[in-house]
């Protein structure tokens, strides 16, 4: 499959499919748990070496949403993270910047200023992150505040309560209206897959989000025990592919939470490559939501360059 580097992406728009049609489309392909887990595990058997490894680690940085989502976040912390986002390894100017930093809405103005002109995006979580248990009007306000403050990307959470009680219409409508409130900001929809009952549910939530206009679908908030896994990501990648086949529109994918090592990141990239292909291997269509992953990737890159294993003391903790 040829890499379409310069191909511009058509942005996803909310569809006029009924929620019933969306759910039917999702259910037209069922998921077998054991089969999808075995397939996901098979990607970890690939041996990625030399050029491909370097390129993959590079890509891991370029597609990273460097994240801080703590109650203790301060402008100082966000500024430090922004500096790291632009120059992840100050000793090596060849290391690319990350894709975005991901913060709470309150920190968006700080991040925006710190990243000005760098090309690094500011992503803001919104909609009552992480639980989403706030009135819808508050969700909208949350989004508008972040967008007004200059967020390039909005990471919303779906209403899992509604989803689990079978009220798919509410989930669908909410995403549609949030998408509308985003304007030019790109929307990532967090399914919080760890709270959904099965892979079939993950697929259904993926379809509802995509049909409602999501630019990205994202696994997790990182705030509960179960975050991104390979199989759950695979289910979402398969859904993205089916949606693309139906509509011709490419939706991005963001596994978030629990991806801490270069090795894991490479496994995800192998899976991305062998399901959606090289076309998806770029920041417009793929993100790692992570915080501690970056230093491990930097350490690996230096190991590859020097041939000697590096240590954590040689990379900045921000």
């Amino acid at each position: 499959m040829a890499l379409a580097e310069s191909q511009s992406l058509r942005r996803n728009e909310p569809t006029d499919m009924t929620v019933g049609a969306v759910v039917d489309a999702a259910h037209s392909v069922r998921i077998d748990q054991v089969g999808v887990e075995e397939r996901a595990a098979s990607f970890t058997k690939r041996s990625i070496k030399t050029d491909a490894k370097l390129w993959g680690l590079d890509l891991a940085i370029r597609t990273m949403d460097l994240t801080t989502l703590e109650g203790s976040d301060t402008p100082g912390k966000v500024r430090a993270l922004s500096a790291k986002a632009i120059h992840p390894d100050p000793t090596n100017p060849d290391i690319p910047s990350v894709a975005a930093i991901c913060v709470y809405p309150n920190q968006v103005p700080v991040a925006k200023r710190a990243l000005e002109g760098s090309g690094v995006h500011v992503a803001s979580v919104a909609t009552g992150f992480p639980s989403g248990q706030v009135p819808f009007s508050a969700k909208l306000d949350d989004v508008r505040a972040a967008v007004d403050a200059g967020a390039d990307e909005i990471d919303m959470v779906i209403d899992r309560g509604a989803f689990l009680r079978g009220d798919f219409a509410t989930v669908y409508e909410e995403v549609k209206r949030i998408r509308e409130a985003c304007g030019d900001a790109h929307l990532k929809v967090i399914l919080e897959t760890g709270e959904l009952g099965s892979y079939d549910d993950v697929r259904t939530a993926s379809w509802i989000s995509m049909a409602a206009g999501a630019d990205f679908i994202k696994t997790s908030t990182g705030k509960i025990g179960v975050a991104a896994t390979m199989p759950v990501t695979l289910v979402m990648l398969d859904a993205i592919r089916d949606y693309w086949e139906l509509t011709g529109i490419k939706i991005g994918m963001k596994p978030a939470g629990g991806i801490r090592t270069s090795k894991q990141a490479l496994h995800y990239l192998v899976m991305l490559n062998e399901t959606l292909g090289l076309e998806w291997m770029r920041p417009e269509l793929w993100r790692f939501g992570a915080s501690s992953l970056l230093n491990d990737v930097l350490m690996q890159l230096r190991t590859q360059a020097t041939g000697a294993y590096s240590g954590p003391d040689y990379f900045t903790i921000d």
Binding site: D32, Q33, V34, G35, E37, G197, S198, Y199
Partner: protein
């Protein structure tokens, strides 16, 4: 082709053989012995018969001499019946087998007389009928159990539910034992374990006593055994068995009563053409009845895998 020796009929009013009348002075109405095929009693398509004599060499009856075409028709009847018989519940098959025992028990005197006429002592004949009934009852009670004994759930090292269960092999050709004292119980010994699991059979009756086999067919016809499940051919092993061994729609063959070792070897080799499950000739003794292996040999073990997930 060897034919059974015959002699002229001599009325012997003291015997109770089926062909004769017990009532003195009454002219009996002898039975015509025909084949049992697809639940019906046709004559051989060849129109042939052979005279069969009693133990004293006196004429008892003309017995249908089945041809290779009759054997072929029997296989077709057996194949037609096989799906339905295998699909019947095990409980149902058990009851049908039990019904055979019931009907057999009701005709005990007839069989004793017939066995005596063909050479048994009265005591041995009674014991044989009793043994045959016992064999049918044993298997009737096994119908819904043998699969629990030989099937299994298998603890595989992965998230799969895995189980194995026996299924009928299909159509089985049987050569009845030719041993003295095993004409009625010999039929039970080979037919019951074959049909209990859902096979249908074509039985080549014992040359020693074809009459009992056909009288037993009357038992089958009047119990609840669906037509075609058991088909019985009278005639000669060396004429009938090669066609059955070569038949590509026969799945298994029991050479129980093939006494000629060269013929047995040839039949086994012929059966290899479609990899028939072959059971070699053997001498029956009472302890063999009820061998689990007699059932197992005409079953196929099916193993099923399914993932366990949500």
């Amino acid at each position: 082709m060897a034919t059974a020796p015959t002699k002229k009929t001599a009325a012997k009013p003291t015997t109770k053989a089926a062909t004769k009348s017990a009532a003195a002075g009454r002219l009996g109405v002898p039975k015509t012995y025909k084949l049992y095929l697809g639940g019906k009693f046709p004559r051989s398509e060849s129109g042939r018969s052979f005279a069969f004599a009693d133990a004293n060499g006196e004429f008892l009856a003309n017995v249908s001499q089945a041809s290779r075409k009759d054997a072929r028709d029997s296989v077709q009847a057996a194949r037609k019946a096989q799906g339905g018989w295998a699909k019947a519940t095990a409980y149902n098959r058990g009851q049908v087998l039990y019904r055979i025992a019931e009907v057999l028990d009701g005709r005990r005197d007839q069989f004793v007389a017939e066995l005596v006429a063909t050479g048994s002592t009265a005591r041995a004949a009674e014991a044989e009928v009793e043994a045959a009934i016992a064999t049918w009852i044993f298997h009737a009670g096994f119908a819904d159990k043998y699969s629990q004994v030989i099937g299994s759930t298998n603890p595989v090292a992965a998230p799969y539910f895995n189980f194995s269960l026996p299924e009928a092999t299909g159509v089985v050709a049987l050569v009845a034992p030719q041993q003295a004292g095993w004409s009625l119980r010999g039929i039970a010994a080979v037919v019951a374990p074959a049909i209990v699991s859902g096979n249908t059979v074509v039985l080549v009756a014992s040359e020693l006593n074809p009459l009992t086999a056909i009288s037993f067919a009357e038992v089958l016809a009047t119990s609840d055994v669906p037509g075609g499940v058991v088909n019985i051919l009278t005639g000669f092993v060396e004429e009938l068995a090669p066609g059955l061994a070569a038949h590509m729609d026969v799945n298994a063959i029991d050479l129980a009563g093939v006494e000629d070792t060269t013929l047995a070897r040839d039949l086994e080799a012929t059966g290899a053409e479609n990899l028939k499950r072959v059971t070699r000739p053997r001498t029956f003794a009472p302890r063999h009845v009820g061998e689990l292996n007699e059932i197992v040999r005409f079953t196929e073990l099916k193993t099923v895998w399914h993932p366990i997930g949500v």
